[in-house]
């Protein structure tokens, strides 16, 4: 009996290595999770799940230095924990980072470390999750961002123009001038944490009216960063029930990371530990690809995918289509399949088409984005093989 159990465990382990990142179990607590910080002892009692974060390589941005530094960037492992109480859910994400980069002072070309947690607004159909890169049309996401940026002022915050004048224009001197400086200083937003709603990365919009309440924090020690994100389980934007997907992103300021220059995970299944219902989402997000990788690669070449898409080792033109180098890391199999069969299903407002006008990724017809990629309605076996191959496209964690 013990032998069988061990054998079973061994197979589970073996498959789990082949599978995508496993699920995050949310432990229940009677305490108030909004009090948690990255340093809280409570985290020691929660099991960590290892997730992988891959370099975003769908688009190349236009910072020459950042591109040089991040060429061939490697994936990274992070540890995720989660606890919930009756009202709120708290996540802890730990990742290694050799340098503590904080954006502060009078600098123009320094960038901050940071992390973000992304939730889909709708996740009933696990085959139709929002695009991982900040959602897609009619599949919005909510994103919480915490960056290591000090003392940020918000000019449009309360429109108080009188507080935006140079002290020399204020006709105040001595103590009055110092008092003015103090009041202006008090307008600083101390912590750079923001919530966004997004349907594709160019549409990302900050939620500024305070209707999306959350707490975030990040702490650095010798091993790297620990970040916490605590938000309501249910509010007017999101309702997290049973099993739901979540995605993480991290930025390394030392490597001039910001915006799309980052590492991101795929959709990770998160399950409330007391949930007993269906978990189709877990199956979809953790299932191993079932096709023939070698045949899949042949099909990719035969169908001319690399005529537009870049895949390292296969030649492809610049700018013509999203790069696929890490697509296997951060995309779900369902998304890859959907994109081959019906490229119009998800066409995100990506980078400005004017940046590369000769190679538009989509055209706008009657206000609707139409992908320039034709559909490839292949047979099931071929699709499985192609998806299996695409799922192997990812950089290894260091």
């Amino acid at each position: 009996m013990i032998k069988i159990a061990t054998a079973l465990l061994a197979t589970t382990l073996a498959t789990s290595i082949l599978m995508a990142d496993s699920i995050v179990l949310v432990k229940k607590t009677d305490r108030d999770v909004t009090k948690l910080t990255p340093e809280s002892k409570a985290w020691e009692h929660v099991k960590a799940t290892t997730v992988h974060l891959y370099p975003q390589s769908a688009i190349t941005l236009n910072d020459k230095r950042a591109n040089a530094i991040n060429r061939g960037a490697k994936a990274k492992e992070a540890k995720v924990k989660a606890i919930h109480d009756d009202k709120n859910i708290a996540f802890l994400i730990e990742w290694s980072d050799g340098t503590r980069s904080v954006q502060r002072g009078y600098k123009s070309d320094e960038y901050a470390d940071g992390f973000a947690v992304q939730f889909p607004v709708e996740y009933k159909n696990p085959e139709k999750l929002p695009y991982i890169g900040m959602g897609s049309d009619d599949r919005p996401v909510i994103i919480h961002l915490q960056k290591a940026i000090e003392e940020v002022y918000e000019p449009n915050g309360n429109g108080d123009v009188s507080m935006q004048q140079n002290v020399l224009s204020k006709n105040v001197f001595g103590k009055e001038a110092a008092e003015y400086a103090r009041r202006v200083g008090a307008l600083a937003v101390r912590d750079y944490q923001r919530s966004f709603v997004s349907e594709g990365f160019r549409s990302m919009t900050e939620i500024k009216d305070g209707s999306e309440k959350f707490y975030a924090d990040m702490e650095y020690d010798a091993n790297g960063w620990r970040g916490t994100l605590i938000r309501p389980i249910k509010d007017e934007y999101l309702s997290l029930k049973g099993v739901f997907p979540v995605a993480f992103a991290i930025w390394d300021g030392e490597k001039l990371n910001r915006d799309g220059q980052k590492l991101l995970s795929g959709w990770i299944a998160v399950k409330f530990s007391d949930y007993k219902g269906k978990d189709e989402l877990v199956t979809v997000l953790t299932a191993a690809a079932k096709g023939d990788v070698v045949h899949g690669r042949e099909l990719i070449e035969q169908n001319g995918c690399t005529g537009c898409h870049q895949i390292s080792g296969l030649s492809g033109p610049n700018y013509a289509a999203p790069g696929l180098d890490n697509v296997g890391g951060y995309s779900t199999a369902a998304y890859l399949r959907e994109s081959i069969v019906d490229p119009n299903a998800v066409v995100v407002p990506g980078y400005n088409r004017n940046a590369h006008p000769n190679t538009p990724w989509y055209n706008v017809v009657d206000g609707i984005r139409q992908s320039t990629m034709p559909p490839y309605p292949l047979d099931e076996k071929s699709l499985d093989d192609m998806v299996a191959y695409l799922k192997t496209l990812k950089s290894e964690a260091k």
């Binding site: 009078y106 990365f201 919009t205 900050e206 004017n354």
Partner: protein
Amino acid sequence: MSKRQLAMVMDLNKCIGCQTCTVACKTQWTNRNGREYMYWNNVETYPGTGYPKNWMELGGGFDAAGDLQAGVVPNIEADYGVPWDYNHDELQFGAQFRPNIEPTWGPNWDEDEGAGEFPNDNYFFYIPRICNHCSNPGCLSACPRDAIFKRDQDGVVLVDLDRCQGYRYCIAGCPYKKIYFNPKISKSEKCILCFPRVEKGLPPACAQQCVGRIRFVGFLDDEEGQVYKLVHKYKVALPLRSDYGTQPNVYYVPPTEAPPKFDAEGRVIEGSSRVPMEELEKLFGKEVHRAMKTLRKEMKKRKDTGESELMDILIAYRHSDMFRLDGEYYKDIAKKQGISLAPVDNRYIQGKNSVNKFKFKVVEYD
């Protein structure tokens, strides 16, 4: 492309490098709140490093195929220069006059140095630079958040501070490096062509204050306007580094009038000019030859006959002719949009009142 386009023409023959425009802009917009190091308007010596340092070599803009080129975000100390102050307060108590930091770089660090060998063929001239409010802006194309927009009513390029997240790809994308990072608000800011003034029928502060009266401001489709005449009728005003492919809307009358060179004995070399044509070609393209021919021809015509419309324009008699703005035009737009006052910019107003679940409509730029 916007419906209409405001443009500025600067006559480089008359720029004396007095920096009054720079000061007008600075006191109006950039002496506070993280903008201290920025010069939305600067006047640089050419040849020289310019502002920021060696901006022409920092990338951005488009190649011949129309693809946005990668660029570099300049460093505040090394490339722009951090503003410094002096200890004026302490002087009455006998202190030495000294700056509060040890300056290592700043705008116009190499002012009036120029090139060539004194006194035989040394030369320089001034180039005042503001944002070019391009028809094909590199900054706008580079922004991954749709935070930069070009106004339909006059083509002014603005940063939507509500959307800007401070990524700075716009700075890398602008070949003129005329968009800046504000470290205090962690967002990008740039020359706004004094749109609140323009909407009231007033020219930008830099143009209004110019003592050399070198600046003309108006709509490019206003055929009666002097800007139109200089750019399209006489074609003597040319865009700066149009090879960057951004279709800039600030135009320059190239420096036609340069003193002659001297030979080894200090005698004037007749017919020579200190400003090398290849330098002018680099700045203004091949068109510069024809523009200078026209300028010389009209100058001669004026000398011979006393008549030349082009010379009359360049003499810059009246501000009312040099600045053809139209406050009524903006009032009409405001009225149509149901807004009582300028600014008539919807996105600026929207920024103040952004509400939850505000669904941003991505602007497709064609």
